[in-house]
Symmetry: C2
Subunit: 260 residues, 2 copies
């Protein structure tokens, strides 16, 4: 059995055959979390290198592309059943580089041969995930030495086209805001309107008018206002909201009404 | 040199090496045209079979995924520089079937071996194209005997998951209507509001209110009303419109304003 790409799950950390994977294809996940009124993205620090990469992986011959993305997400974050959306394919001829692959795989039990597919250009399928920051257990994989959150406006140097993949994930999110609600998987069960607005502002990369945002958001019928608890300073505390799950998921599925 | 997949351009109809292509990956184009107030889709009739398929192809090792989709579109329609949008990846484990591949390739100069990638599951990347119906020259490829337009509500039996790919292309178009204009590449240079409304109605799969549609569409600022030519019956003829190309492409790039 030729040794090659390693499984990234803890129970199977030893290298397995590259033949177990679809050649020339990978998934990369842009995992967004929301913390301290900022959208953050989860990245891996490459082994033997100074740069960072997206959590990604190859696709087993016996699994679907979507299932590969779910597996990567679970292995790197510890989370299952999270909002995960395929958004674009990255397939330029020069997107991956042999020198990067060689250094990233150095010290792993992999023998490089000319013509190995993982040593040539491969195509990657981009997904974005929206996760609750506090619930994530960042976990490096075989090719990385650490796993950490970064602010979207302070990304480190990244390999290949991974920074472009993050940017395109944001573009996709921005487009999806036109017809889908967002926030459920990013926020705790109760939250302030200010937090929800901060998510929109990060994705749209501009400030929004507070009262206009409140009015539009409430008109969607997906928010429930919580009773204020009486405390001495209660009149200063902002209202807490939660999502009406039924309405939220109905809109997520059916989309907002068209203007026509 | 192992013989295998054939080029589909006329100048290179003879089989070429399967090694020239990325293994396990293809593109499939859902080509939409608008004719007689209906959206139609361009399909190929499989050689040696009773069913139909989307115009598709494999990706050369020296070309990007997007360029492969453009090549397929040009080879099947004769059109260049057409609106072409990647919309989803189809990667289920059982999506392609060996028996279908074998019959489709029968009578071509291809030797099947166990383990050939084109004989196993491969992943396809879906694109949709919006083309001007009258300008298309439907052209079959090596694997097909004819190329023809079908009404979206009267699709023939199709191989693999190709019918689902058409349906998902429509879902994607429907979502894109929320933030992008449509029609420029589907309509001739002048057209009636009724034709434009018919495109929206086909995509949304419901009837729209005429005066509401007119008002919303004119408010986008992308339409120019043409002067009516004076003829005896001119007062009965509907107004003709054309797109303001500059505004149309600005909106296509920047998207409609968010409601927030």
């Amino acid at each position: 059995m030729k040794k090659g790409i390693a499984h990234t799950t803890e129970e199977a950390i030893q290298p397995v055959a590259t033949e177990a994977y679809l050649p020339g294809l990978s998934v990369d996940n842009v995992i967004f979390g929301f913390h301290a009124d900022q959208l953050k993205v989860l990245l891996l620090e490459c082994r033997n290198r100074k740069d960072w990469m997206l959590p990604g992986g190859y696709i087993r011959k016996d699994e679907s592309v979507d299932d590969a993305a779910k597996r990567v997400l679970q292995d790197r974050s510890g989370l299952k059943n999270v909002y995960l959306q395929q958004f674009s394919v990255f397939g330029e001829t020069r997107r991956t580089k042999e020198s990067v692959m060689r250094s990233a795989m150095k010290s792993l039990d992999i023998t490089f041969k000319d013509g190995d597919w993982f040593n040539q250009r491969y195509v990657t399928i981009g997904y974005y995930a929206l996760v609750e920051f506090e619930k994530v257990k960042p976990t490096p994989d075989t090719f990385s030495v650490s796993c950490a959150w970064f602010d979207l406006n302070a990304l480190p140097t990244m390999i290949f086209d991974h920074k472009e993949i993050v940017e395109q994930a944001l573009v996709a999110l921005r487009q999806h805001l036109h017809y889908k609600p967002i926030g459920y998987s990013l926020l705790p069960s109760t939250f302030t309107m200010k937090s929800l607005q901060a998510i929109y502002e990060t994705i749209l990369q501009r400030k929004l008018d507070r009262s206009n945002f409140n009015r539009k958001m409430l008109s969607l019928g997906i928010l429930e206002k919580k009773e204020k608890l009486f405390t001495g300073a209660a009149h200063k505390a902002p209202y807490q909201y939660s999502f009406n799950k039924k309405e939220y998921f109905r809109l997520l599925k059916e989309g907002f009404g068209m203007p026509f």
